[in-house]
């Protein structure tokens, strides 16, 4: 049977099932296939905080959304074209996001009376008319899988567990994905359990063949590769990119990396990733708490290492005092905050941009630190290198604000070669810097950067002491002199204010927009996608995205003032808006939603259009 093949330019698929159904793995594999096929893509995993929430319940639903296209895309998509629902809970939890007309592939086997009751369905939605406005494919995924694996010597439970591979096979057929890598992946993953490996491969193939041979699906789809610029690509999540960026920073600064960290969702994966790269001389230290994590990183920095600590919101709060010590001792340090929904424990697996003001102000005293925020998952790589560059050059702690969405979301990344990366090394100080040629002044600053010398233990003749008490300009000796304190407060501020930050670039294709939409951090994708939509609809909007939150790019005031209106969407109650309003006295229009989720492009397009229309 030859089936019809339909051309599409983009598709959004959401895999949803129970936490135990392996949806994250399924999504990851489909993503890998799609990446290697050459589509542009963007992903959004979404899972419960519980390790294994009770089976079949709404809080137990885990999902993975993937947007892929034959052109460059910016977000994981607002509304899925296809929902794979492995049980009633998955259907119920996700249906409201599904536009009418979208496809639903439901695992009919799981729509048992008991499972339906668990989520409050009185009748089976696969059987009444309630899904009439969608294209429902009711497929007995479990029993098909079990049947396909009859001949294997595995338990029924193991056979049932392979149903996600069946689903993956089916979807792979449906969208013409290359399958070899997945088969290899399964074989490697279960190398130690050959029976499981074989049965999973078989389930995957069965799913593929089910699509191809049965009549359940009459159409398959083709989405051409995207015309990405030439190069080697890989799909990468924000946490992975951030970790690799730190490795690259270590190599490019010629400094050994020391990570002091305490596990916390959604930052732990950076620790996990870095702990694999010991070949690079990277030391990872799982500390007893966040305070020890940053303390050890600072101690290592005193010893000449690239000190890094990684955490999420509550952990940053705990590190505050030590970051203050880093500020006043002027040692390089990178503090990574993978923001999650707060306050307090909040919603650990959900994203948010609510730690900006804490990053800037969450310490006692005047305690300025540079703040950098990556815009997309792959941008976490560059942001990490940039954070290291600033930390080392200016001898300062740097706050790097990622978030839950960037951390777990992924996209294709054009892998840079080492040769393309900047050299960010700065030599340690090894000679006396006093006018007499013999004394060493640990707080005598570089005239241009205002950075103090970094002389590390082991350097003869430069023995010196630093600490948290106010230091005399130059000598660094303890000083309670009022004028010296005022001077030092201002010097520390001036050093941060003077950091070399690239100008803010504005994207305004026609050059005549009167409204600027501004963003920072992970809202880049939805904002850019929204701007595109607005422009497609004839609206004029300029777009700019801040990566440097402190100091701001030098031209930002000018940029802000050259538009009639500035719209600033943030996943908080207006934190960047507060800073910009204060600094430039510009009446920024804030758009704030604090739902633990990224913005949707459509939503933002509407908001932008409204602002344009109100002109």
């Amino acid at each position: 049977m030859t089936k019809q093949v339909q051309q599409l330019d983009r598709v959004i698929i959401r895999f949803a099932g129970d936490s135990g159904d392996g949806m994250q793995l399924t999504g990851d594999r489909f993503t890998a296939e799609t990446a290697s096929f050459g589509n542009d893509l963007s992903t959004l995993p979404n899972f419960p905080a519980e390790i294994r929430a009770p089976a079949g319940t709404l809080p137990g639903v885990s999902s993975f959304q993937l947007h892929f296209a034959d052109h460059d895309i910016l977000t994981p998509g607002d509304a899925p074209n296809v929902l794979v629902a492995m049980n009633p809970a998955a259907l119920k939890a996700n249906l409201s996001d599904l536009p009418r007309g979208a496809d639903i592939i439901a695992n009919a086997d799981e729509f048992t009376k008991r499972n339906l009751q668990k989520v409050g369905y009185d009748v089976n939605p696969l059987e009444d008319e309630s899904l009439a406005e969608w294209r429902l494919h009711s497929v007995p995924l479990t029993s098909l899988t079990v049947k396909a694996l009859e001949e294997f010597d595995i338990s029924k439970k193991d056979a049932e567990r392979a149903k996600n591979m069946f689903a993956l096979g089916l979807l792979s057929w449906l969208y013409g994905r290359p399958v070899e890598a997945t088969i290899k992946f399964i074989e490697t993953k279960f190398a130690k359990k050959p029976a499981i490996a074989k049965s999973n491969v078989a389930a995957f193939n069965a799913g593929y063949n089910y699509g191809e041979t049965t009549e359940a699906f009459s159409v398959s789809y083709e989405i051409k590769p995207a015309p990405l610029s030439a190069g080697v690509y890989r799909n990468i999540s924000g946490n992975q990119a951030l970790a690799l960026g730190l490795v690259a920073a270590s190599v490019q600064s010629k400094l050994p990396l020391f990570l002091g960290s305490y596990p916390i969702t959604p930052a732990s994966d950076i620790l996990h990733e870095l702990s694999k790269h010991k070949r690079f001389g990277i030391r990872t230290f799982q500390a007893e708490d966040e305070i020890a994590g940053v303390g050890a990183a600072l101690g290592a920095a005193f010893g000449g290492a690239l000190g890094v600590t990684t955490t999420s919101g509550p952990g940053v709060a705990l590190k505050a005092e030590t970051v203050g010590l880093a500020v006043t001792t002027e040692l390089p340090l990178i503090v990574v905050d993978v923001q999650r929904a707060g306050p307090s424990t909040g919603m650990p697996t959900k994203t948010e941009q609510t730690d900006l003001l804490m990053a800037l102000f969450g310490r006692n005293g005047e305690s300025p630190v540079p703040v950098i925020a990556p815009a997309t998952p792959s941008d976490c790589f560059d942001a990490a290198v940039e954070a290291a560059r600033i930390a080392i050059k200016y001898r300062t702690p740097v706050m790097l604000l990622s978030d839950g969405y960037l951390a777990n979301g992924s996209e294709p990344w054009k892998v840079p070669s080492q040769a393309e990366l900047p050299d960010i090394s700065v030599p340690y100080t090894t000679e006396p810097n006093g006018d007499d040629g013999t004394t060493f002044l640990p707080f005598k600053r570089d005239a241009e950067t205002l950075a103090r010398p970094w002389a590390i233990p082991g350097t003869p003749g430069l023995e010196h002491r630093i600490g948290g008490i106010e230091k005399a300009d130059g000598t660094g000796n303890i000083s309670y002199d009022p004028s010296n304190h005022d001077l030092m407060v201002r010097l520390r501020q001036a050093k941060i204010d003077g950091i070399d930050v690239p100008d803010l670039e504005v994207d305004d294709p026609d050059g005549d927009a009167r409204v600027l939409v501004l963003g920072w951090g992970s809202t880049y994708g939805p904002i850019a996608a929204a701007a595109r939509r607005v422009r497609r609809g004839g609206g004029k909007v300029a777009q700019a995205h801040l990566r440097h939150l402190n100091p701001f790019p030098k031209n930002i005031g000018e940029v802000l003032k050259s538009y009639d209106k500035v719209l600033l969407p943030e996943i908080n109650l207006g934190q960047l808006a507060l800073l910009l309003r204060a600094k430039f006295l510009v009446d920024i229009i804030s758009y704030n939603r604090v739902r633990g989720l990224p913005f949707k492009a459509e939503e933002l397009a509407g908001v932008i259009q409204e602002v344009i229309d109100s002109e």
């Binding site: 010893g303 233990p457 002491r465």
Partner: protein, 348 residues
């Protein structure tokens, strides 16, 4: 390989070229403790001890927290870090774990180490990073002008406890032994010779060594350790712990109690063979723990010296080993290879 460094605390620290003297270790900063403070004696003892180690001065680092005692690094002409309250063990851990070529000393007080910093202390001990922790125990908060500390005796009247403190103090030795410490010792500010002997062993131990130093705060808790200094009482209450030697003084002796544990009895009431012979290397910490309890009731019989000195590989060393092993197994890291690792595809 890690085994071979045992007992060689400074094996990886470069040796000094010439001979050093006390003066080399004095910084140009004016010492600012109260006149009469026990910290002076300890500073002088440490400064006079350092040349003996024969390591490069620039490879020596003193890290401290906050408190009167934590001013110490300013007075040592080495590298130094006067950090924040309670966090010195954590900061020193990062330094020592990444720089095995340094001799790292932590200076801390009873409040700094046992109150706010208690967690970092016990974790440093179990990890066994190559650190020497000198805990200046004056049983009071000096710098904040006299509140009770976690080593103050019950019922202590201080500014924050006008009707007397309620909580049972820590016994730093018991706590350290309970936290898997490999090296634990006690000495006293006034006895330079003993201080030197303990510092010597602490430095030689590769791993975390904790040295409790009884220190007099003559302003807020004067004479807390007077009994141990009084020439008349001193010798009858102090029990010197020396490896391989019976634990006894002129009048008292320690023996195994018939019901388990240890007891102190009149020396002449038992035969010499009954006196417990001290074994600092006993792998079972139970006797070291029992020894730490002998100072109850307080100052009746106070063991002084090294309670326990048991080698195990140090954390920093194991960490270096893993790095070396990773390189040995798969070669040194190659950034291009790493970045292009995983599932990649090429677009032309």
């Amino acid at each position: 390989m890690s085994e071979s460094l045992n007992g060689k605390g400074l094996a990886l620290v470069p040796k000094a070229e010439g001979k050093q003297t006390l003066k080399d270790f004095k910084s140009d900063q004016e010492v600012r403790w109260c006149p009469g403070c026990g910290d002076y004696a300890i500073l002088a003892a440490v400064q006079s001890f350092m040349p003996e180690l024969g390591i490069k001065r620039e490879n020596t680092v003193f890290v401290s927290g906050i408190g009167c005692s934590s001013r110490f690094p300013y007075y040592m002409n080495t590298y130094g870090f006067h950090s924040i309250h309670g966090r010195a063990p954590a900061i020193a851990t990062g330094l020592a774990a990444s720089r095995p070529d340094l001799s790292v000393w932590v200076i801390t007080g009873d409040g700094d180490a046992l109150s706010i910093g208690g967690n970092h202390l016990i974790h440093a001990l179990r990890r066994n990073v190559n650190l020497n922790i000198l805990l200046f125990n004056n049983r009071i908060y000096g710098l904040t002008k006299g509140q009770y500390s976690p080593t103050s005796e019950v019922g202590k009247i201080t500014k924050s406890t006008p009707m007397g403190s309620l909580d049972k103090p820590f016994n730093p030795i018991s706590l350290a032994v309970g936290a898997e410490a490999g090296f634990v010792a006690r000495t006293i500010d006034s006895d330079r010779k003993h201080l030197h002997s303990v510092l010597r062993e602490a430095a030689a131990h590769r791993g975390t060594s904790l040295v409790e130093i009884y220190q007099n705060c003559n302003i807020f808790n004067d004479n807390a350790f007077e009994d141990l200094k009084d020439p008349e009482k001193r010798d009858v209450i102090t029990l010197r712990l020396e490896h391989g030697q019976p634990i006894a003084n002129a009048t008292q002796a320690v023996r195994l109690a018939p019901t388990g544990g240890l007891e102190v009895v009149a020396r002449d009431s038992i035969s010499p063979e009954e006196i417990l012979v001290h074994d600092v290397h006993n792998p079972d910490p139970s006797l070291a723990f029992a020894l730490s309890r002998l100072d109850e009731p307080a100052f009746q019989h106070v063991p002084i010296g090294i309670f326990r000195s048991v080698d195990r590989p140090s954390y920093d060393h194991l960490m270096s080993e893993q790095l070396e092993m990773a390189v040995a197994q798969r070669g040194p890291g190659d950034l291009d290879e790493l970045l292009q690792g995983g599932d990649t595809w090429k677009i032309n």
